[in-house]
Symmetry: C3
Subunit: 139 residues, 3 copies
């Protein structure tokens, strides 16, 4: 059993940008040579999240619409009042959806469904360069 | 340290069906013979989620009511417009709640609270046969 | 590769109390002596959650405001009708946000962002003594 840690670099547009990172995670996994175990994708930051979704333009829009309704951009946030960052909504969304995802892999391949992709959501109010941590525990 | 992967099969009614799968997860864990480590429950699909809750009919209803309010069934979704699946709400709910849960176990038993059960939520708009992945890392 | 399990004890005020537990988790990690792997923080109970956030008073207030809006305290819950606990909202919040968090660590240090803390949220309607499980898998 071994632990292998990798990073993947992303350029995002912010504003609830939804990026399909499945291939980059799979490549990081292949690079470790491990066959069975778990992959963790972790966001080292407080304005993004990682989850899975059927990645197609309709759901990308639906996810943004839902988050705009649940944690709106234009309402007052104490964070913005104190720090004038203008990204209070991004922090709240990230805390609610979480920074971490774990996926099993078997014989070198993640056990994702056919219509299930790993996505990174960047909630910040500007474009960002991001580095996600990919950690693999397995044999 | 070893990795063991199992699956559990479920028949659901869809429409935010909430199923207590604690016993099936515990049985899969016992089957591995491992004593200390983590159990991961993973949903290979994009219209279901796994979490924990005190499993009793009141909270089962409350969870459905909350999800109907937060991510309603009857509003327009671009996913439905494009693919005519009618399950856009199910995809959004699954992405928000996530497909994965990790639970520690010690001396062969998960460290769940007394009133805490592992549940699978099927958000799809029809009954489904599901296969969840149970992966155990431990010694 | 080894598995080490610890607990941390907390005293909370309930009512969506947000506690920064980063240092306690880091201390539990140091206590194991492990250098690379994953840390899991698990809530053995059904009225609390664990996530990450930039821990500052503004966001603490914003998180409470968002949860009060999304899963309000004063509306009817079947759980309260059946069990008269008055904490139906706490159970629903916990199920939606989840009881578990996984964070990678490298050379003995968690890969958190600079402005990212691990927080425990106690949604219950009273002050509580809590014991969280910290499990470390690594080498």
């Amino acid at each position: 059993m071994a632990v292998e840690t990798r990073t993947i670099a992303l350029r995002t547009r912010g504003h609830c940008d939804v990026l399909d990172i499945t291939e980059q995670v799979q490549n990081a996994l292949l690079d470790t040579g491990l066959q069975n175990g778990l992959v963790m994708v972790f966001v080292p930051g407080s304005t993004g999240s990682v989850t899975t979704v059927e990645y197609e333009p309709g759901l990308e829009a639906d996810l943004k619409t839902a988050l705009d309704r649940l944690v709106p951009v234009g309402i007052p946030y104490q964070h913005d009042h104190r720090w004038a960052d203008g990204n209070g909504h991004a922090h709240v969304r990230s805390a609610l959806m979480g920074p971490s995802l774990t996926v099993p892999f078997v014989r070198g391949k993640m056990t994702l469904g056919t219509w299930q992709q790993i996505v990174f959501l960047d909630f910040d109010n500007c474009s960002r360069s991001r580095e996600l941590v990919i950690q693999v525990l397995g044999e």
